[in-house]
Amino acid sequence: MSLSVENLRIAYRTLRGDVQAVDGVTFAVADREIMGLAGESGCGKSTLGNSLIFIEGRMKHVGGTVELDGKALPISDDRAMNHHRMRDVSIIPQYAMSALNPTKKVGTLAHDLLKSRGMKLAKVLPEFRRRVALVGLPENVLEMYPFELSGGMRQRATMVISTLLNPSLLIADEVTSALDVSNQRAVGELLTEFRDLGYVKSMIVITHDLSILAQIADTIMVMYAGKLTEKASASTMIDKPLHPYTQALLSSLPEVGVRYEDRELTGIPGRPPSLLSPPPGCRFRERCPFAYDKCVEDPPFMELLPGHQVACWKAADDVAGGAGREHNEASATPSGGAGDASPERGPSLGARAGKGAE
C-alpha cells in the first residue's frame, strides 16, 4: 500500500472562522495506481493535494493521519516534511506553466532545487538529460529561460524536474487545464508513461476535467464541498456512477459528436454550500434532484459494491434493492438505510444513468 489517508481534516483560517476545506477524508492509493481526483472549483481537491506535501500558513491540520509506504508522513511538521519533499512526495503545482522562475534558466532552477535537498545537479545530470529528451524537449532546455518555452514545453519541463528523484507519490494539480487538446494529450500520456517507467510509484491527478481522467486514471475519486462523494475504478465511474452528483457532472459534459440540436445538455442548478458553516447532512442535498427526507443525515462513505465507495443514502437504497433483484452482485451490505428500499426510486436512477450514457 503506497499511500493511505485516514480521516484527514484540513481547515483554512479566516477572519470569520475556520473553513473546513477537507472534511474527514479517508482513502488509499495503491502502488502503480493513478488516482484521479475530480470536483468543482472550491470543493477542496487542491487543498487535499497540497496538504500532502506542504501545509501553508493559512492552512491548519485539524486531524487525521497520512501514511506513505508504511511510514507515517508528518504533514503538520514543516521541518520534518522537508526530508520527504521531492524524494518521497512531489508535486506538479497548479499553473505549472508559471511555476518556473522567469529570471532563472531551467537548469539553474533544477540545480537550486536539488541543492536544497542536499544533492548535486551534476550527479543526476545524465538522467536529467535523458528524461528531457524523453518528453520531447530540446536538449539545451537546461540553458533556456522559461519565456523561451511554449506552455506545453514548460509543463513538460516542470514534470521532469518534479519527478527527478523518483518520488513515491506525485501530485499533479490541474496539469492539463491550461493546455490545448494536443498538449493535453501529450502531457496526459506522459503521466502514464512516467508511471510505467517507474519514475513515479503512484500518482494523484487533480483536475475538474473528467474526460481526461477517463483517459489516464485507474481509479477516480470525486469530491464535493470538502467531502468524498464517490470512488471507483475509472470505467465504473464513467459508465455506472451511483452518486447523483457524479451522474449530473457526467451528463453535463459536451462530447465530440454531440450537438445542441440532437441533445441539449443540462447543467447542475445552484451552487455548492459555503464551507464556513456547512449545512448538516448530505452537502449535495440542495442541488440534488433525488433528495429526500433521509438526506438531512450525514451519509457515510461506504463501499456499496466491491471497490465502489459512495456517500449517498439513495444509492445505498438502490444497490440494496438492486442486489436483491439481480441476486448475483456480491455487494457489501451498506451500513445503514437498507431497510427502506423504495421501489420507485430504483428505475428513476437507472433511467437517468442510461440517458447519460447514450
Binding site: G136, V181, A186, E193, H208, L249, P254, E255, G257, R259
Partner: protein, 381 residues
C-alpha cells in the same frame, strides 16, 4: 453580416521592433445573422487576435473587415460608437473583467451613460431585467452584488446581458467557457444557443473542439495564423481532411473511448480522400516522425551529448513525443528563414530588414481547395 477578406496581422518583434511576426495570414470567412462560427486553434494560433481585430481593438495589417458592407477599420468617433452598439465582445476571464471595488451591475450603468442617457429609469430597469432573463439569470440574484458574490458562470452571463442591452447583432465570445466549471459551462453554452435562435451572430473562439462542435454551424480551424480547414461543422468534424485537424480530433479526451492510437507520421495523401479531391498535393513524408528540435537547435547536435540522443531514440516511441514533434514542426514557417542568409558558412541576418509588405507577401498561407461543397481544406506542403 460580417465579412473578413484576407485579414492579416503582423506583430512587431525583435529588440527595436524591426522584425515582424505574422499572427494572422490572409484569413477570410464570414458570419451571417443567427449563425455561430467557431474559431478553433491552439494557443498562439492567432484566434484571439482575430477577435480583437473585429472589435476594432487592434488594427489589421492587411485585408478588409466589413460589417454590413462598411469597412470596420475606417470607423472612428461617432461611427465607431454606433458600431459598438451592434458588435460586442465577452472575454475569457470573468473574474478580471469587473472592477472589484464596484458592484457588478455597474457595467449596466456604464452602458446607460454611454448609449441610453435619455431613457427613463423605469424603462431602463425593465430593459435590464429583460436582458437578465434572456441570459437565464434571476435579477434578484445578481443585481446589487459585488463581483466576488457571483459565480463565474453568473459573471459571464452578466457580461453577455450587458451586450444584449445594446442592439447587439454580433457577439465575439473569446473563450468564454474555458474558465468555468463543468456544471455551469453547459448553462452558458445553452444560453448562446438561445441567443443564436433570436438571430444573433456569434463568433465563438475556443480551443475546445467538443464545445465548438456542440454549438456551431460553421467551423474555422486556424494554425499559425492561417486557415487549415473550414466549412460546415458536421462536415469538418465528420470528415476531416487536413492532417492537423485529424491530429486535433484524436487528441480530444472522450469519456467512453480511449485515445485512439494516432499515427502522427500519416500524411494527407496516404489517406484516401473522399469525394475525390485530386487537388490535394502529396505532402512531404519525412518531417513528422523525426524530432523537429533536432533541426532547429542544430547547435546542440554538435555537443558531446549527441550520442546520448541516439540511445534515447529507442524510447521515442510514444505518442506524447510524437505529438510534440508534430506541434513543433513548421512553427515559424514562411518568413523567418528568408530574413537570414548564409554568409561565410554562418547564418547571418540580412543587412536590410524586410518591409511590412514583403513579410505579408512571404507569409502567404497555402491556398484552400474545396473538397466537398461547403468544406475547404488547405493544401498541405
Amino acid at each position: 453580416m460580417l465579412e473578413l477578406d484576407k485579414v492579416s496581422k503582423l506583430y512587431r518583434s525583435g529588440t527595436f521592433g524591426g522584425d515582424f511576426k505574422p499572427a494572422l495570414r490572409q484569413v477570410s470567412f464570414d458570419i451571417d445573422r443567427g449563425e455561430v462560427v467557431s474559431l478553433i486553434g491552439e494557443s498562439g494560433s492567432g484566434k484571439s487576435t482575430l477577435g480583437k481585430i473585429v472589435l476594432h481593438l487592434v488594427p489589421a495589417s492587411g485585408g478588409r473587415v466589413s460589417f454590413e458592407g462598411a469597412d470596420v477599420m475606417q470607423k472612428k468617433g461617432r461611427e465607431l460608437h454606433e458600431y459598438y452598439r451592434q458588435v460586442q465582445g465577452v472575454f475569457q476571464d470573468p473574474f478580471s473583467s469587473y472592477n472589484p471595488l464596484y458592484k457588478a451591475d455597474r457595467v449596466f450603468e456604464m452602458v446607460r451613460q454611454e448609449y441610453f442617457r435619455d431613457m427613463a429609469k423605469d424603462a431602463w430597469q425593465a430593459k435590464v431585467e429583460t436582458a437578465l432573463e434572456t441570459v437565464t439569470l434571476n435579477p434578484a440574484d445578481v443585481l446589487n452584488k459585488f463581483p466576488h458574490q457571483l459565480s463565474g458562470g453568473q459573471q459571464q452571463r452578466l457580461l453577455v446581458a450587458r451586450a444584449l442591452l445594446l442592439d447587439v447583432r454580433l457577439l465575439i465570445a473569446d473563450e468564454i467557457i474555458s474558465m468555468l466549471d463543468a456544471s455551469t459551462r453547459v448553462d452558458v453554452l445553452n444560453m448562446l444557443v438561445s441567443l443564436k435562435r433570436r438571430g444573433l451572430g456569434i463568433l465563438f473562439i475556443t480551443h475546445d473542439l467538443s464545445l465548438g462542435n456542440y454549438i456551431s454551424d460553421k467551423t474555422v480551424i486556424l494554425r499559425h495564423g492561417a486557415v487549415v480547414e473550414m466549412g460546415e461543422t458536421q462536415k469538418v468534424f465528420g470528415n476531416p481532411q487536413h492532417r492537423y485537424t485529424k491530429s486535433l480530433l484524436t487528441a480530444v479526451p472522450q469519456l467512453h473511448k480511449k485515445w485512439a492510437p494516432f499515427d502522427w507520421s500519416v500524411n494527407a495523401s496516404a489517406v484516401p480522400a473522399s469525394n475525390g479531391s485530386p487537388t490535394l498535393a502529396p505532402s512531404t513524408p519525412p518531417g513528422a516522425g523525426q524530432p523537429a528540435e533536432a533541426k532547429r537547435y542544430s547547435k546542440s547536435s554538435l555537443s558531446p551529448l549527441h550520442g546520448a540522443k541516439e540511445e534515447v531514440g529507442a524510447a521515442r516511441g510514444t505518442h506524447a513525443v510524437r505529438a510534440g514533434a508534430v506541434l513543433a514542426e513548421d512553427a515559424p514557417s514562411g518568413p523567418r528563414p528568408s530574413l537570414m542568409e548564409m554568409e561565410g558558412g554562418r547564418w547571418q541576418r540580412r543587412r536590410r530588414r524586410a518591409t511590412l509588405t514583403e513579410v505579408l507577401a512571404e507569409s502567404a498561407p497555402p491556398p484552400l481547395v474545396e473538397c466537398e461543397p461547403g468544406h475547404l481544406v488547405a493544401i498541405e506542403k
